[in-house]
C-alpha cells in the first residue's frame, strides 16, 4: 500500500505532466526515498496507482541506475569510476574500500550500514577522485580519507 504521504507527493508530481504514466519515474523515486528500494509489492502498488501493468513499471525500474530493485544499506556510497577519477587514483580508493569493509563494489556491508556502488562521472572531475554518499559530494578522495568520510554515516 502506498502511504498517504507518498500518494500526496505522487499527486503533486503528476500535476507536471499531461498523462499519468509520465509520473512512473517520479513514483519510483518517491517510494524509494523512504523505503530505500523497490520491492515487488511497491512496484505493483505504483503500477496500480498509475494504471500501468507491473511488467511495464518493472521495465522502467530496471532501466534506470538510481532505482534499486534489491535491498540496499541505510546509506548509499557512490564511487565515481569514470576517466578523470581513474587517472587520479580511483582504483586505490576502490582497493581501500575492499580492504576496510571486506566488500566489492555492488555489495552492502554486513551490518547493513552502506551499499557501495560505482557511478558514472559525478561532474566533480576537477576534484577527482570523487564520491557521493547519500546526497553529499566529496572530492580529492584518497585511500587514507575513505574511512573518515564513511564514519559519518551511521
Amino acid at each position: 500500500m502506498l502511504t498517504d504521504t507518498e500518494r500526496r507527493e505522487l499527486e503533486e508530481a503528476l500535476k507536471h505532466y499531461p498523462d499519468k504514466r509520465a509520473g512512473a519515474i517520479d513514483a519510483l523515486l518517491i517510494v524509494q526515498r523512504r523505503r530505500r528500494w523497490i520491492s515487488d509489492d511497491s512496484l505493483l502498488d505504483i503500477a496500480q496507482f498509475l494504471g500501468m501493468t507491473g511488467e511495464d513499471v518493472d521495465s522502467i525500474a530496471t532501466f534506470y541506475n538510481l532505482i534499486f530493485r534489491k535491498p540496499v544499506g541505510r546509506h548509499m556510497a557512490f564511487i565515481c569510476d569514470s576517466i578523470s577519477c581513474w587517472i587520479m587514483g580511483y582504483e586505490q580508493v576502490r582497493a581501500q574500500i575492499q580492504k576496510s569493509y571486506e566488500i566489492e563494489l555492488g555489495q552492502t556491508t554486513r551490518d547493513g550500514r552502506l551499499t557501495f556502488l560505482p557511478i558514472a562521472c559525478l561532474g566533480h572531475c576537477e576534484r577527482a577522485p570523487a564520491m557521493m554518499i547519500d546526497q553529499d559530494l566529496y572530492g580529492n578522495v584518497t585511500p587514507e580519507k575513505v574511512e573518515t568520510i564513511v564514519e559519518k554515516y551511521e
Partner: protein, 434 residues
C-alpha cells in the same frame, strides 16, 4: 575579460537567490520581451549572435529553432526542455551554472519560450545533482511568487510554466530523443528521426531540447545585442565558453573564456601546466566521446569551426588530459567500459560491439593481446562509427579509440610485444560486467 555567464557566481559556490540576482541585472531581459519584441525578431537576434549549442554537437541554435511551427495555427502546447543531464565523463560545466546561478536558467527558459511561443518548460536534471535540484526548486518557487512564471508577462499574453524533472540515471537520457522518452516516463531509448522533435517531440508536440550552457547565453544576447556578443569571442562563433580541465595538471578547474581560446593557453596559463614530473601526451577536448588532440594541435582555437572534422570536434569543451605516466590503453579501456555499461541496448552493433571492444582492450592490459586484436579494434572503430547505429552513443565511443589507435599505436604494440602493460605497476582494472 568579460565573463557574462559566471561573473556573479560566488567563489564558494553558494547560490545567488532572487534579490541578489535581480540587483545584478537578473530578469532585466524580461523588460525587453514585455516591451513587445516580436518572437521572430528575437529569433533573428539569436541567429545574428551566432549562438551554437554547447551540449556537444555545436549545432547553430537559431537554425534548430527555425523548424518550430510558429503563429496561431501552430500546435499547442509547445515545449522547451533544458538538457541538464550532464553525465559525459570529464564534463562538469553545467553543474557550475546550475548550482551557482539557478535563476539564470529560469530567465533563459522564459526567453526561449517567448521566442518560440512555447508555454511550458521542463528542466531535465540529472538525478545525482542534488544540490542543483534544491537550488532550482527554490529559484522556480521564487520566480512563481514574483510573477515571472505562471502569469502573463506585463503588457503581453505570453505566460510560461516551468517544471523540474529529476532523472534516475543513464547516460543515454542526455540524447535528446531518449530524453523525451524518459520525460514521458518510459525507458530512455532514442527515437527514430525524422520526425524531429522540433515538430513532433514531447507527447507529440513541437519541442526544443537545449543544453544548459546554451540557454544561459540568451539573457546576455537579449540585454547586450549580437554585436557585443560577437565581440566576446575570438572566433566566428559568438560568445564565451566554460572550459574545464581535469587530469594531472597543476590547477584543474573551470574558466569562462572567449570562444576560440587555444588549448595551449588553457593548459599552460589557466591550468598552470602539467603536474611536477609528468608530461603532456594528449587530451580529449570535450568529454569522453571526443577524439584525442596531441601536441601538434595545441595551438588550435577551441571552438566549433577551427578543429578540422577529420581531427575531431570540441564537444563539451571540458578537457581530460592524458599524461606520460598514464597508460593510453587503460585510458581508452576506462572510457569503453563506461560506454558499454551505458548503451541502452536497443541496437545490436552497440549492445554487442561495445562490450567486445572493452574485452579486447582488457586483454591488452592483461598482456594477452595479439596483432589480430589490434585489427579487431580497427574493425570495431569503423563498424561502430557514424552511420551504423541508431544513435550517436556508439560513434561517440569510437572517437577516442580510433584516435588513440592513430596517435598511440606504439603503446598498443608495446602491450603485445611485452606481454604486459608497460605501466603495470598499477592494479589491473575491474573486469567488465556487462
Amino acid at each position: 575579460m568579460e565573463r557574462p555567464l559566471t561573473q556573479y557566481i560566488h567563489p564558494d559556490g553558494t547560490p545567488r537567490l532572487l534579490g541578489e540576482y535581480v540587483k545584478a541585472g537578473g530578469y532585466r531581459s524580461l523588460h525587453t520581451l514585455a516591451a513587445g519584441i516580436a518572437p521572430q525578431d528575437l529569433q533573428r537576434l539569436v541567429a545574428e549572435a551566432g549562438l551554437r549549442g554547447r551540449g556537444g554537437a555545436g549545432f547553430p541554435t537559431a537554425s534548430k529553432w527555425s523548424f518550430v511551427p510558429m503563429g496561431s495555427d501552430a500546435p499547442k502546447p509547445k515545449y522547451i526542455v533544458a538538457n541538464a543531464d550532464e553525465m559525459e565523463p570529464g564534463t562538469f560545466k553545467d553543474r557550475v551554472l546550475l548550482e551557482g546561478e539557478p535563476h539564470g536558467l529560469v530567465e533563459s527558459m522564459i526567453i526561449a519560450g517567448y521566442a518560440l511561443e512555447a508555454e511550458v518548460g521542463f528542466i531535465f536534471l540529472r538525478g545525482e545533482y542534488h544540490r542543483s535540484a534544491e537550488r532550482l526548486t527554490q529559484a522556480i518557487a521564487e520566480a512563481y511568487a514574483e510573477g515571472y512564471l505562471g502569469k502573463p508577462l506585463p503588457g503581453t499574453t505570453f505566460c510560461f510554466d516551468l517544471h523540474l524533472h529529476a532523472s534516475a540515471g543513464r547516460y543515454i537520457c542526455g540524447e535528446e530523443t531518449a530524453l523525451l522518452n524518459a520525460l514521458e516516463g518510459k525507458r530512455a531509448i532514442p527515437r527514430a528521426k525524422p520526425p524531429y522533435p522540433q515538430t513532433v517531440g514531447l507527447w507529440g508536440q513541437p519541442t526544443i531540447v537545449q543544453n544548459v550552457e546554451t540557454l544561459y547565453n540568451l539573457p546576455q544576447i537579449v540585454n547586450h545585442g549580437s554585436a557585443w556578443y560577437h565581440g566576446l569571442s575570438r572566433s566566428k562563433d559568438g560568445g564565451t565558453k566554460i572550459y574545464g580541465i581535469s587530469g594531472r595538471v597543476t590547477h584543474p578547474g573551470w574558466w569562462e573564456l572567449p570562444l576560440g581560446t587555444t588549448a595551449r593557453e588553457l593548459l599552460e596559463q589557466h591550468a598552470g601546466g602539467m603536474f611536477n614530473g609528468v608530461s603532456f601526451r594528449g587530451l580529449l577536448p570535450g568529454g569522453a566521446s571526443t577524439a584525442f588532440l596531441t601536441q601538434e594541435h595545441l595551438d588550435l582555437p577551441m571552438d566549433y569551426s577551427s578543429i578540422p572534422p577529420q581531427v575531431g570536434r570540441l564537444g563539451t569543451g571540458t578537457m581530460i588530459v592524458l599524461d606520460d605516466q598514464t597508460c593510453p590503453v587503460g585510458f581508452v579501456l576506462n572510457l569503453e567500459k563506461f560506454f558499454a555499461r551505458e548503451s541502452c541496448g536497443w541496437c545490436t552493433p552497440c549492445r554487442e560491439g561495445l562490450p567486445w571492444v572493452a574485452r579486447i582492450l582488457e586483454s591488452f592490459e592483461e598482456g594477452l593481446a595479439t596483432d589480430d586484436d589490434l585489427a579487431l579494434l580497427e574493425m570495431h572503430a569503423k563498424v561502430l562509427g557514424p552511420g551504423h547505429t541508431f544513435c550517436a552513443l556508439a560513434p561517440g565511443a569510437m572517437a577516442p579509440l580510433q584516435s588513440a589507435l592513430k596517435y598511440f599505436r606504439d603503446d598498443f604494440e608495446r602491450h603485445i610485444s611485452l606481454g604486459r602493460c608497460p605501466w603495470s605497476n598499477k592494479p589491473t582494472q575491474l573486469r567488465v560486467l556487462v
